[in-house]
């Protein structure tokens, strides 16, 4: 089975963000980056499927030059090769433009299964995978916790709301968006890290793939949210802050 995993490099979760002079994106300098969390689970699901059913895992990532770090980490964990769409320093595009770019890079791959994360930590569209499925004309399932090869296709376990789940059977090729947390993630071994250096990373400039269509949505402005609630925040030494809080809880909120 040939499995493609689409991974995104995102700023680390505890980053502090500054808004760039353009006002429509953040200042990207000085940010630590890492793989988008659900994408790490998508990669793990792909590696487990390959290890049991055989085949190949291809990592696909659109991002600036610095994304190669995250791609190498995926190769070190066991992916077989990678496609890096070099987007330069451009601000991120809308999810349809991105999905069309990803689809163009995958046109010649004839993958059996394409996995994405269910949502990115930075843009949070929660859409790229589903759009990619439509662009490529394949069926999809979202918020997937488990994948099994079955009945000439696959059977997946989807998470529904309020603690419900559902099995869905589908043919291949297909696209799945993977939820975090379903399995344990493997670490890269020393051997893996060494091997990763020799694995193929095909770099494609985005201009070779970029579709000409005009974007259908536009970010007009980004800004720090205005606090809507009047919170009382204590930031003194812990003992003092704790005493102040307890006083408020006892005599103002009257909850203890």
């Amino acid at each position: 089975m040939k499995i493609v995993v689409a991974i995104r490099q995102v700023p680390a979760r505890d980053s502090q963000f500054r808004i760039a002079a353009s006002g429509i994106w953040i200042d990207e300098s000085d940010l630590t980056r890492e793989i988008n969390e659900p994408d790490a689970y998508a990669l793990e699901a792909a590696l487990q499927l390959r290890d049991s059913a055989g085949g190949e895992v291809v990592v696909l990532c659109a991002g600036p030059e610095g994304a190669s770090q995250t791609i190498r980490e995926a190769l070190a964990k066991g992916a077989d090769r990678a496609i890096h769409i070099d987007t330069g320093a451009a601000a991120p595009s809308d999810p349809l433009t991105l999905a069309r770019t990803l689809a163009a890079a995958l046109a010649a791959e004839n993958a059996d299964l394409i996995l994405t994360g269910l949502q990115s930590d930075d843009l949070g569209y929660g859409q790229t995978g589903v759009i990619l499925a439509e662009v490529m004309g394949v069926p999809h399932a979202t918020i997937v916790m488990n994948v099994e090869v079955a009945e000439g296709g696959i059977r997946v376990k989807r998470e529904l709301e309020d603690g419900w789940f559902q099995q869905v059977a589908m043919p291949l090729p297909a696209l799945l968006t993977i939820q975090s947390g379903a399995t344990k993630l493997r670490y890269a071994t020393l051997m893996g890290i060494k091997k990763a250096k020799t694995k193929e990373v095909r770099v494609i400039p985005v201009s070779d793939l970029a579709p000409a269509a005009a974007p259908a949505i536009r970010i007009a402005r980004i800004y720090t949210p205005v606090k809507s609630k009047n919170s009382v925040i204590f930031d003194g030494p812990p003992a003092q802050a704790a005493a102040q809080l307890v006083e408020k809880l006892r005599f103002e909120a009257r909850v203890i």
């Binding site: 970010i219 609630k229 009382v232 812990p238 802050a241 307890v246």
Partner: protein, 323 residues
Amino acid sequence: MSGVLAVLEQHNGQFHKSALEAVAAAQQIGGQLGVPAYAAVLGSGVEPLAQTLATYNLKRIHAVDHALLSAYTPDAYTAALRQLIEAHKPALVLFPHTYQVRDFAPRLATAMNRVLVSDVIAHRVDNGAITLVRQLFQGKINADVCFEGEPPYFASVQAGAFRADSIEAGSASVETFQPSLDAAQIRTRPLEPFRESARAVDLTAAPIIVSVGRGIKEAENIPVVQSLADALGAELAASRPICDAGWLPMERQVGSSGQTVAPKMYVAVGISGAIQHLVGMKGSKTIVAINKDREAPIFEVADYGIVGDLFEVVPALIAALKQ
């Protein structure tokens, strides 16, 4: 502009809890644009359900009816809604941002060469142009988003962004719409939904909840927050990553995929306040947050907060409670 269409979700003949919020959203935005609001509900035999909306101020309710819509599939929903939209040409199609909508709405928008603006928390209408607000970076930054090009436009709204109690009464007629669907178009086969296990802990009954997030760093540190819970006579709960990692059982998870709670007091310790967590607890009467990051979105819903390292703050708090 020909109207704002709210697409309402139903399961087994009952509306999803988001349905009335979606109707309110369509009425409100429609009013600001000076166009009528419509609603649509998809399924098999959904006319009686559609009739229950007849006392709201809507121009029309479309009961999109077909045997192949009885079990939800993204392929059938996409095809049916596309036909409805092409026939009635709404200017704006609004969805509640539910799991089901996440599953098919991006596909529908793409099929119509549009982009869905997902998970909208607020909106503005200036001179007939809609600006939508959505969150970036897990709630740390907001973005104003505009549509480009021609309608129809597509957007999904976050739970709680519009209030169901602001819905306008009135009258509406129900019209059945029969899409043409073919079983061969439906490529996925859904089986019956199921629950993994019964919930042994009913967090909804607890007057005080202490909830722990990834700030706790390791399973070995859980007793730190357990002792705070004990000092307050509280139940212990957690954000999703803590339950995923197995540090606390699943049944203690609060949020969109866990339990929804509204205790007298909710104490969030080392929890960032991602929307999927907030929807499960923001109805709490008093919210307390302990987090080392002053910018963490949890402080936006907190009544009281301490900015600091939980490993220092929690013991200090336990000591203060004993005084």
